[in-house]
Symmetry: C2
Subunit: 126 residues, 2 copies
DNA sequence: CTTTTATATCCATTATTCTGGAAATATGGA
DNA sequence: TCCATATTTCCAGAATAATGGATATAAAAG
C-alpha cells in the first residue's frame, strides 16, 4: 500500500458513520451484512448509508456482492492487514512497533511496546 | 483509544500534506523538526502548513515545543501504537491480525498474516 | 405484469475543510 | 528600541463532503 492509497483508506475511516459501519462488518466476519441491516443497526437513513458504503467500497476496505434483492457488504481484512503493516513500517518508530518476518509461520511478527511498561517509558534509541 | 478518538486520528492522517508532514516527523524521530523545515521539505506555504500542523496537534498525534524562535514538532509514537492496537483489536479479524500479551518482554505480540502465504488464503474460522 | 422489497442514484442544500494573502505574536540580536 | 526571523492567527474565497427527499433500478413473489 502506497502513501496516496493510505490517505484514501484513512479518509474512509475518518467519518463516524463509516467507521461504525465498518466495525459492524468486522464483527460480521466473512458472512458480511446486507446494506439494510447496517442502516438499521446504525439508525442511518438508507440512502445516506448507501453513500457511505460506496465510499468504503471505493477505498477498497469493503467489498460487496448481490444475494437476491440484498447487497451483502464484507470487510476487506487483507486491506486492513496492509494498513496495519504500513502504520508499523512507515508511521511509527522501531522502538514502539517493530516488525519482522516469520517465514515458517507465514506471518509477520510485530512487537508493540506496552502502554505502561518500563520499556515504553525508557526508550533506548540508536 | 475509543472510536470517536480514532476517527479524529484517521481524519488527521487522511490528507496528503498532513500524512507527508507526519512521516517526515516519524523519520526525524525524537529530535523532531521545526515547522519551517517541514514547510520547506514539502514545498507547502508556511501558513498552510501551520494549519495542518495544528490539525495534527489537535488530533494528538504530534506534539510541539518552542526552541528559540522555532517551534519543534514531534511525532507522538505512543498514539500510533494505540492506533495500531485499535486496528488489530477492533478493525480486523483474529485470523489476519492476532494480538497477545508478552508480559516478560513488556509488549504485545501481533501475528500479521503474510500477504501471499497459504495461511492468508485458507482462513480457518471458528 | 403488478406489487413488494432492497438498494442505488440524482439532486439541491448545508456543512466542513483547504488555501494562501495579510497582519499579529514571540524570540533573539544589534 | 528597532529589526530580522519563525511561526501563528485572521479572514474570505474555493473546493469538497455529507445529508436526505425523490426517483430509478433490480429481484422476487403473486
Amino acid at each position: 500500500m502506497d502513501i496516496e492509497k493510505s490517505t484514501i483508506v484513512f479518509n474512509a475511516l475518518s467519518q463516524e458513520t463509516r467507521l461504525k459501519a465498518f466495525r459492524l462488518l468486522v464483527e460480521a466476519g466473512s458472512d458480511g451484512l446486507p446494506a439494510g441491516a447496517i442502516s438499521e443497526g446504525l439508525g442511518t437513513p438508507q440512502n445516506t448509508l448507501s453513500f457511505h458504503l460506496t465510499h468504503l467500497s471505493n477505498a477498497g476496505i469493503v467489498s460487496s456482492r448481490r444475494k437476491g434483492r440484498s447487497i451483502i457488504y464484507m470487510a476487506n481484512f487483507e486491506m486492513m492487514r496492509d494498513l496495519i503493516g504500513l502504520l508499523v513500517k512507515d508511521c511509527c518508530s522501531r522502538e514502539v512497533a517493530n516488525i519482522r518476518q516469520d517465514k515458517k509461520k507465514g506471518c509477520s511478527i510485530i512487537e508493540l511496546a506496552d502502554c505502561c511498561s518500563p520499556q515504553s517509558k525508557t526508550v533506548a534509541r540508536g
